[in-house]
């Protein structure tokens, strides 16, 4: 019952257009008619808007050199024109014959792993990475545990081993390359960070050799940028959902107590020094915000709600003064639903006069057709408070009745007042939710803005708050959804770090 080594955790892209677990992502081929911000392919036969929000990339060997390995974010899809409109311009216009792939949603795990580190500006999963000096070695993946810096790969002829190190660290355990190796794993000194290589033993040098690469984190390979057009649209922000498909690739052993949490901005926890904050927009001073982001980040108050906490979106920071946006999101239980409430509907309370825009509809029981639909609504741009049992209307039509009063809150926390002395800390930019696939099939929400059914989200930012995924047996799958919660009027911010960090024994 050995512990599966770090290379045994493999994370894959899902996609809603696949038909079974492990299917390859289709390779699409561009037709003529593309533009700097558009790709046309008649093979894209899906419905209008199907690919909106998708992440895509051109293959490493696509004919147009400037597009090789280029990632893009799909803004919209026109079924009639078979055209993907992109969020921003490509380096050059895609030519007929250029090949690309698309990823969106959940449903099925693909055979394509998520990407590791950039090596010298190149993703080895997309383009061949080989050293200048160590002939016969092809690097196929560099794990993100290596981090940024200089990677040294060393071949020792006398021992016929390949070893690696980062920066000035010690060399790790060697990989025996006395014979050719496919998908060999070379660990760094920590025994966890690794590179994956193919080795042709006959082509290895006859003397000791070393090669180095500069490693960097890739951006926009799993979660696309949050584009400007997605916010400040006066509909109260939005939520986006992405899935990581996790598989234990160990042939024998289970991953015991697999956990996951997300990265968050750097900055130490502190306390509110002075001032207070209600549920509206406001500001307060903290004791020490040194090193915190200057704008557009999330904050958790660890003191309130009996220690459960509360959170706010910090619009911007000036020294130790934090300016927060108001809480205009709420949850609202409903029942006796007779007409379907949909995302984007403008909801109003027949008695209270409260209004809101519907972000999510979570149906817990009953049906709309049966007139007994019940569940929970996630509302944004909330004005007023919906009352218990009042009719909930859309365009003056009664749709359902409130199952309680609406409760203001962001990211699952109940919004309450904050006061001096409260302990606060930075919160990750994403929430995580577990989705154990049923018969290897994941939840399949209709769009990137629709919450996957039966997935409970919460913030997880360190080992103590990590999401517990249980034990993962050999060859088994698990799923982790990421939720981005975007406030209307949110700020631009570069270099958002929301890495997912898994650990197990």
């Amino acid at each position: 019952m050995a512990t599966p080594t770090a290379d045994k955790l493999r994370v894959y892209f899902p996609s809603k257009n696949l038909a079974a677990d492990g299917d390859a992502l289709p390779t699409y081929t561009a037709d003529t008619g593309g533009a700097l911000n558009a790709i046309v392919d008649a093979a894209l036969t899906q419905a209008d808007g199907y690919w909106a929000g998708a992440v895509g990339w051109f293959l490493g060997n696509t004919p147009t050199a400037a597009l090789q390995g280029q990632f893009f974010h799909v803004k919209s899809f026109d079924a009639a024109a078979d055209k993907l409109t992109l969020s921003r311009d490509l380096p050059t216009v895609p030519a007929a014959g250029d090949t690309f792939r698309l990823v969106l949603g959940g449903n099925w795990r693909s055979s394509h792993e998520t990407f590791g580190m950039l090596m010298g500006g190149v993703l080895p999963e997309l383009k061949t990475v080989s050293g200048v000096n160590i002939t016969g070695v092809t690097i196929k993946k560099a794990s993100a545990l290596l981090g940024e810096g200089t990677l040294t790969v060393q071949y020792t002829r006398g021992l016929q081993i390949l070893r690696i190190k980062m920066g000035s660290q010690a060399l790790g355990v060697g990989l025996d390359v006395s014979a050719s190796v496919t998908d060999g794993i070379v660990f760094a000194a920590d025994g966890q960070a690794f590179i994956q290589v193919d080795v042709n033993a006959a082509s290895l040098p006859t003397v000791d050799r070393t090669d180095t690469w500069t490693l960097a984190y890739p951006e926009r390979t799993l979660t696309p940028d949050y584009e400007g057009y997605e916010t400040k649209n006066d509909v109260g922000g939005k939520t986006r959902y992405r899935l990581e498909c996790v598989r234990n690739a160990d042939a024998v052993d289970s991953m015991v107590d697999l956990t996951v949490y997300a990265g968050k901005p750097s900055g130490a926890a502190t306390t509110i020094a002075s001032g207070s904050l209600g549920t509206g927009a406001g500001s307060f001073d903290v004791t020490d915000a040194t090193g915190w982001p200057t704008k557009g980040f999330w904050l958790k108050n660890k003191t309130v709600n009996a220690g459960v906490g509360d959170c706010r979106y910090v619009n911007y920071r000036s020294g130790n003064t934090l300016y927060c946006l108001g809480v205009d999101w709420a949850t609202l239980a409903f029942n006796t639903g007779t007409s379907e409430i949909k995302q984007g509907d403008v909801l109003s309370g027949a008695t209270s006069g409260a209004t809101a825009v519907v972000d999510q509809v979570v149906l817990v029981s009953g049906t709309w057709a049966g007139g007994d639909a019940a569940g929970t609504l996630l509302l944004r741009k909330v004005v007023g408070t919906f009352q218990n049992a009042e009719y909930l209307r859309v365009s003056s039509v009664n749709m359902a009745r409130a199952g309680g009063a609406s409760a203001l809150g962001l990211r699952g926390y109940a919004a309450v007042a904050w006061a001096a002395g409260n302990a606060i800390e930075l919160l990750p930019d994403v929430d995580l939710g577990m989705n154990k696939p049923a018969a290897n099939q994941y939840e399949n929400p209709a769009a990137e803005t629709v919450q996957p059914a039966s997935v409970a989200f919460r913030a997880a930012w360190d080992k103590t708050t990590a999401l517990d995924l249980g034990n993962l047996a050999s060859g088994k799958l698990q799923g982790v959804w990421r939720r981005e919660w975007i406030m209307d009027g949110h700020q631009g911010r570069a270099g958002i770090v929301a890495d997912t960090r898994y650990s197990w024994s």
């Binding site: 019952m1 951006e219 940028d225 057009y229 991953m255 000036s318 990421r482 890495d499 997912t500 650990s503």
Partner: protein, 460 residues
């Protein structure tokens, strides 16, 4: 090295005890009899490295005239000697350079009728798989005491000794009547590639399945050994031990915590390119967001924007600005409602910002800023002084400063003799912009200049 270790045969050869002599180069033994079933020869097992030249010899005061023989791992004879030793006196000596790494065996043999103690030397010392106090901990794992749970796991490597088979043991100290939870030990097996095996011989009585240890045997598999504690609420300590050993790899043992993997997920958040338009009420200071004009809008305009009656300064802020205190250029001033004739734009007089005073050579230097550079007409800055607040600005100013196109900062000197208030405003003969007021204290001691003084403002 498995076996009984009584020196009677290759299978039961003594292990080279590196602790007996500095550098681990000598071991000591004793032959007790010649013939009659006595101990007339000893086998010693040595792990030698390929390409390294070893000199083996007996050293005085060995009590008899020894022969020494060398065998390889399969027991095949390699060489022998009787009288070539450096110490003379019948001591034996062999020099050998292995072509293959592995176990070799030296037999020390009693030829004559005498017997007794002997000294056998190997220079350099054969390889050791043991841990020494001064070495850099090749092996040793412990879990620290936990407040709630006493040490659940401790691993100790026992000394190699003849007659003591265990080369490796894992003990859990008895706690509160619970006997040893687990033990791992090396099996005695000859000619096995693997030199280590851990066997669980006890079942945890109180806490099932907290610990298991066993060796995975796979030809090219990294993990040769693993021991771990599964996660539990009561026992948060996570423990993992594994040996990523390979035949060619020096590192024979490693200790790791939880295994980790990272999925790099990084992106950026953007705001839409364009401009937000704000209206600032010159009388009340109220700021109203009029709307947003996208960079790709054509025409770039906001239409049908409701605005209450009053004098409004219209300001444009690029989308990437985020400080509310940021001020853009006052592109125009308009009067909405009856007082201005229905929203006709005026030429635009700037608001006075960052009004402040500095003491230079015992004189008050009054400074302020403006940001209005949008085709301003001819105007001046007026300064009104008064011992009380608010300062009356209805009359002609006490001092004037000329506006210069493109210049954002202005100053003037005030010969002051007592505390007073100053009001500053842009003005023309027909219009006056919003005024800012500042109290000018006066003392023989110059005040400290704070980083930011805030100027009160009111409408014209």
């Amino acid at each position: 090295m498995p076996g009984l270790e009584n020196g009677s045969s290759i299978q039961n050869a003594f292990s080279w005890d590196h602790t007996q002599y500095p550098g681990g180069t000598r071991v000591f033994g004793k032959l007790t009899a010649y013939g009659g079933g006595g101990n007339y020869q000893d086998y010693w097992a040595l792990y030698l490295l390929a390409g390294k030249t070893y000199v083996f010899q007996t050293r005085l005061p060995t009590a008899f005239d020894p022969y020494i023989y060398l065998y390889d791992s399969s027991g095949s004879y390699l060489l022998y000697d009787n009288n070539s030793g450096d110490d003379g006196g019948g001591m034996a000596k062999m020099t050998y350079t292995p072509t293959k790494e592995g176990w070799y065996y030296i037999v020390i043999y009693l030829y004559s009728g005498s017997y007794g103690s002997y000294i056998l030397e190997s220079v350099p010392a054969p390889q050791s798989f043991r841990v020494f106090a001064g070495s850099t901990a090749r092996f040793g794992t412990r879990i620290a005491l936990d407040a709630a749970v006493a040490a659940r796991f401790e691993a100790i490597r026992e000394k190699n000794a003849a007659g003591f088979g265990n080369r490796f043991s894992v003990y859990a100290p008895a706690q509160t009547g619970n006997a040893a939870r687990v033990s791992a030990r090396q099996a005695r097996e000859h000619a096995r590639a693997s030199r280590f095996e851990a066997v669980k011989i006890a079942t945890v009585v109180v806490s099932s399945g907290r610990y298991s240890a066993r060796q995975a045997r796979e030809g090219r598999h990294w993990a040769r050994f693993s021991a771990r504690s599964s996660q539990g609420l009561v026992l948060p300590g996570r423990f993992d031990v594994r040996q990523p050993a390979d035949g060619l790899v020096p590192a024979r043992f490693g200790v790791l915590g939880r295994v980790e993997g990272i999925v790099p997920t990084r992106n950026n958040a953007h705001v839409p390119p364009g401009w937000a338009l704000y209206a600032r009420n010159a009388d009340t200071g109220e700021v109203v967001r009029l709307g947003f004009i996208s960079a790709d809008a054509d025409p770039k305009q906001l239409a049908d924007v409701p605005l209450a009656d009053g004098v409004w300064e219209i300001e444009v802020r690029p989308a990437e600005w985020y400080w509310e205190e940021c001020r853009g250029r006052n592109v125009l001033t308009l009067i909405a409602g009856e007082i201005g004739g229905g929203g006709e734009p005026l030429q635009g007089l700037p608001a006075i910002q960052n009004l402040r005073r500095e003491i230079v050579s015992f004189q008050s230097v009054i400074k302020w800023n403006v940001v209005a550079e949008y085709e301003p007409g001819a105007f001046q800055f007026g300064l009104w002084f008064s011992p009380t607040s608010p300062v009356d600005t209805s009359g002609p100013p006490d001092q004037t400063v000329a506006y210069a196109a493109g210049q954002g900062e202005y100053q003037t000197v005030r010969a002051q003799t007592a505390p007073e208030y100053v009001a500053v405003a842009a003005y023309t003969p027909t219009e006056q912009g919003p005024a800012s007021e500042l109290f000018l204290d006066w003392d023989a001691v110059a005040p400290e200049s704070p980083a930011n003084q805030h100027a009160a403002q009111w409408g014209a």
